[in-house]
Amino acid sequence: MLQAHSFLWHYLWVAPNALSLILAGYIWRRGIQRRYPFFLCYLLFVALEQFSLYVLDLSPKVSPITWWRAFWFGTIIEGLLKFAVLAELLHHLLHCWPSVAKLGRNLVSGAGVLLVLLAAGIAPFAAPDNTPKLVGGAHILSQTLYMTEAGLIVSIFLLAGFFKIPWDRMTFGIAVGFGFVWCEHLAVWALVTGGLVRNRGWEDFANMATYHLCVLAWFYYLLVSPKVSRKNTIPPKGPSAGPPIGPTPEEDLEVWNRELERLVHP
């Protein structure tokens, strides 16, 4: 079943990218593209890239070297778009909260620099490969990119978790999807680059299936409205409200302000 050109293989290559195009259409119709322009570009580009690679793979006239050249081109552009999406996610996470925005941006940028250096340092230690340089190089490029991207998305989650920065639903959903895909892709490409797994077949299925799940998660977070369980925190007004318990809020606030004034200006 986990063979190239099986039904599952065709499905997993085509379906998530077709779903990406549908999602891009919904994003456009709902006006979400104004908030996430790079994410929309990413969805469109990846769908077109993957359909092109799929057609090139099926076409008997296309040589493997041509296919790998197309893969290189797509991976580089896709990588740049992913960094733009990461910047977009960080902007949406921080721009409402000036108290932590600068520190947050500096921390994530610093983490990015460290990750790029680390990924570049690890790249030369790839296991020797008897495939053409173009193929082995593509494995190393993928590992390097996914290491940086997965590290950056985890650093954004750590930043939000440490400072308890509130996520909005869409930004969180996009980040979770990317987080899952990039971590899984990193693990698979590390196994391939390290020579532990090569041409077994299941690694492509794992990557494609994870991306499929990721696209479904994006559908859920971007298109399904959250359940509103708003409890009535505003107290009733009028005669049914009943008498206030303890000091009235105005009195309480005055006491607070008086005491705080005393503390700030002793």
Binding site: C96, W97, P98, S99, V100, L103, I122, F125, A127, Q143, M147, A150, I153, V154, F157, G161, F162, F163, K164, I165, P166, W167, F172, V176, G179, F180, C183, E184, L186, A187, A190, L191, T193, G194, G195, L196, P226, V228, S229, R230, K231, T233, I234, P235, P244, I245, G246, T248, P249, D252, L253, V255, W256, N257, E259, L260, L263, V264
Partner: protein, 179 residues
């Protein structure tokens, strides 16, 4: 090969972390109530006393050097406990403010936004202050300024009170024990 295994383990841990964040977020959304009860009131007067440089100077003059270092470390540890509690309270207030951000009432939403921003500022300052306190534990004779934390906490008191008042006038939020 070793590097590959390290990368795979790191990726797996990152996946588990992201999964944990996703699950805890969905639990928080369904949680809703009972957040105010998690706030631990802080005795601001006692904290002011701890960070007062005049107190430190007095102890430095009255105590032998070794004894002063011991007392100073004890005071720093107590200070760290206060700052940790302030940071935890700030985290609770962020969640309270977050749940009020979507309120239909403009004033409540504005107050919630202000509360969350102030709470995040306090959380940031708490983290930096904790770092300074732990550094000062290694060098007890060095000066330490924790006053920004106190000011941030006091500012937060005002924001929490305002939001609490807008949401529920009969039970405003209290985050300090002095009042």
């Amino acid at each position: 090969m070793t590097l590959a295994i390290i990368l795979v383990i790191s990726a797996a841990l990152a996946l588990v972390f992201i999964l944990g964040v996703t699950v805890s977020r969905s639990l928080q959304i369904s949680e809703g109530t009972g957040l105010a009860a998690r706030i631990q009131p802080i005795d601001v007067e006692a904290f002011r006393n701890l960070i007062d440089p005049a107190e430190d100077e007095y102890l430095r003059r009255r105590l032998p050097a070794s004894e002063f270092r011991f007392v100073r470390r004890q005071r720093l540890l107590a200070m760290a406990d206060y700052v940790k509690t302030a940071g935890k309270n700030a985290a609770v207030l962020v969640r309270m403010g977050q749940s009020a951000l979507a309120a239909g009432d403009v004033h409540t939403a504005e107050a919630a936004h202000r509360l969350v921003d102030n709470a995040l500022l306090l959380r940031r300052n708490s983290a930096l202050a904790l770092l300074r306190i732990y550094l000062a534990l290694a060098w007890p004779n060095s000066g330490l300024a924790a006053a920004p934390i106190l000011r941030g906490y006091e500012q937060l008191n005002g924001s929490a009170m305002l939001l609490g008042r807008l949401q529920n006038p009969v039970a405003p939020v209290r985050i300090s024990a002095t009042l």
